[in-house]
């Protein structure tokens, strides 16, 4: 479909994943802020049902890439194809309603709210009862609230955070906050889940838990996941395919073991000058 992806210097995609349908394609995207280039001519795809890792040294443009995907930044050049349709310029909340959810590098929970309310907030888009019914509470609004509460409770159960259900999130330790944030994103029942360094600042045990949750999410719900992560061990374990960025450019793309062996990647991580 597109010539960019088949250029020779890129490692080829492993067969089983390659046969899957594209969920999202990024073609020749460039992004700059007032002349400073954050992303230069990047193309890659995310297939339905896979776990796609985006890695690269600090400042490689990984988070900017996520921001482009969920509509927070608008690239000056290039197209984004979402579920087969070229996407127009849009707002972040529109991305949300199309099924893109994410977590943040620095936990971005609603600090004044409890774990339960935070995860409930992920259901916002799916709740429809209007102001009048909300005001009345008893009746349709409450029914709707309870219907979604059930979904949220399933997520709480899934993430094993029953004990902190009614704790204000500000009081939780960092690792649990990250878990709640994942829960909040899951509550959106997204088609694509973007995780920005889901394991940053965690200890070994928490990392193991989080890895398990990510894999479970992928397997249980079939959610496609794109994640940024620094811990190479985790990336290798979790991801089906890896795209490597450096200085806003793509330097490798393919299954983890191939990418790990790529000279360009080794150079980038060792800091060989360009």
């Amino acid at each position: 479909m597109n010539a960019i992806m088949t250029s020779e210097e890129m490692p080829q995609v492993a067969a089983p994943t390659a046969e899957r349908e594209d969920l999202l394609r990024v073609d020749n995207v460039s992004l700059s802020f007032g002349g400073v280039k954050a992303i230069t001519d990047i193309s890659f795809d995310i297939k339905k049902g896979e776990i796609r890792a985006i890695i690269g040294p600090n400042g490689a443009g990984k988070t900017s890439m996520l921001n482009v995907i969920n509509g927070f930044y608008h690239p000056q050049v290039g197209t984004i194809t979402w579920q087969g349709q070229v996407r127009r310029k849009m707002k972040p909340y529109e991305a949300a309603s199309q099924g893109i959810a994410r977590t943040f590098q620095n936990v971005a929970l609603f600090r004044g709210m409890t774990t339960l309310d935070n995860i409930m907030s992920g259901r916002s888009l799916k709740m429809r009862k209007n102001f009048f019914w909300q005001m009345m509470w008893y009746g349709p609004a409450r029914e709707e609230e309870i219907e979604h509460r059930k979904k949220v409770e399933e997520i709480i159960d899934f993430l094993e955070i029953q004990a902190i259900r009614k704790t204000p999130v500000g009081r939780l330790p960092y690792g649990l906050q990250k878990r709640v944030e994942l829960g909040r994103a899951l509550a959106m029942e997204p088609d694509l889940l973007l995780l920005d360094e889901p394991m940053a600042g965690m200890n070994l045990e928490e990392k193991a838990d989080m890895s398990r949750f990510i894999l479970d999410v992928n397997q249980e719900f079939g959610t496609t996941i794109a994640l940024i992560e620094h811990d190479m061990g985790v990336v290798m374990d979790l991801s089906d395919r890896v795209v490597v960025l450096d200085y806003g450019k793509k330097i490798a793309d393919g299954p983890p073991e191939e990418v790990q062996a790529s000279q360009a990647v080794i150079d980038a991580y060792l800091g060989v000058s360009h």
């Binding site: 802020f33 007032g34 988070t63 996520l66 921001n67 927070f72 943040f104």
Partner: protein, 317 residues
């Protein structure tokens, strides 16, 4: 109607340039006074991040103290000196009682505290000096009172009050002095360090508390100057408090931390308000001075949310 809005005012400006110049002068003087009030805000905001709503009442309070002391038979210059001392005590008190315990609280709490301070000073001022407007002792302080008329050839004349000229001069001196203070003195540099980074300031051995007391004192001095000038033009009364709200649009235009911004913002608002009131106000019944400044700031905000001198904000996730 359209004619009244878009053509007639300009025709008037051209056909009656003397009147127009007079309006501009009025706008200039008002603007200077706004700028002075805004300056007080900026001083405090820069050093402590506090938006000091009490600046308006400090102006009134300074003016009242000065006049009140004089009424009790103290000579004008001594009264002035004493007032400065009072402002110093006030600054120290505010730092000790209000600012220090509230350090690190969210902006809105600090803002509220300064409004509480306003209440307190209103009550205190009225309790001590009574609630009636007072005449400023401009003459006793040696401020000029007369006026000079400038003829404009055939086209009429512009009358300049000497007190206004003095106000402008004092404002200019004040700003220059502050600029020197900030750039050349040790304390001034410390102040700037605080504005940039509290930790850094602490690490060079400057006490944050001292600095806050100093800026509040500096703001008190600015308030005193403002009080004298404004008082000399009208009266010293609590109505001045409302005027202080005008500092907000001024700051929006000029930025919360910029001294030149405060001056330029003050002038823009001063000019805009007067011209708007004289040439367009009549169309809607007059009195638009009370809100025009905010609308100007608002429109400005919608197009340049970062202010005149701010940089474009890139939001990060």
């Amino acid at each position: 109607m359209l004619y009244d809005i878009f053509i007639d005012p300009f025709v008037q400006m051209v056909t009656m340039p003397d009147f127009f110049l007079q309006v501009l002068w009025e706008g200039f003087v008002t603007g200077i006074l706004y700028a002075l009030i805004a300056l007080g805000f900026v001083l405090i905001f820069k050093a402590s991040g506090v938006f000091n709503f009490a600046q308006g009442i400090m102006v009134v309070f300074a003016g009242l103290t000065l006049v009140g002391l004089h009424e009790h038979g103290i000579p004008a210059y001594l009264a002035l000196l004493l007032t400065i001392v009072v402002m110093g005590i006030l600054a120290y008190g505010i730092e000790r009682v209000v600012m220090r315990p509230l350090v690190n609280q969210p902006d809105i709490i600090l803002l509220m505290a300064t409004i509480g301070l306003t209440y307190f000073l209103v009550g205190f001022g009225e309790f001590v000096f009574g609630g009636e407007p007072k005449q400023m002792i401009a003459e006793q302080l040696g401020l000029p009172t007369g006026s000079t008329a400038f003829e404009m050839g055939e086209r009429g004349l512009v009358i300049l009050q000497h007190i206004d000229i003095a106000a402008a001069l004092i404002a200019i001196i004040m700003v220059t002095a502050l600029a020197i203070f900030f750039n050349k003195t040790r304390i001034g540099r410390a102040l700037r360090a605080v504005a940039d980074d509290h930790q850094a300031a602490l690490s060079v051995g400057i006490s944050l508390n001292q600095i806050w007391a100093i800026v509040w004192f500096a703001a008190g001095l600015v308030a005193l100057a403002t009080g004298i000038m404004w008082g000399a033009r009208s009266d010293v009364s609590f109505a001045l408090e409302i005027v202080a709200f005008k500092a907000l649009p001024v700051l929006i235009l000029g930025g919360f931390t910029s001294i030149p911004g405060a001056i330029i913002g003050g002038l823009i608002i001063g000019f805009g308000e007067k011209i708007g009131e004289i040439y367009w106000g009549g169309l809607v019944g007059g009195g638009i001075e009370s809100w025009l400044a905010y609308i100007i700031a608002l429109i400005f905000l919608l197009f340049r949310p970062q202010g005149l001198f701010g940089e474009k904000i890139i939001e990060r996730v």
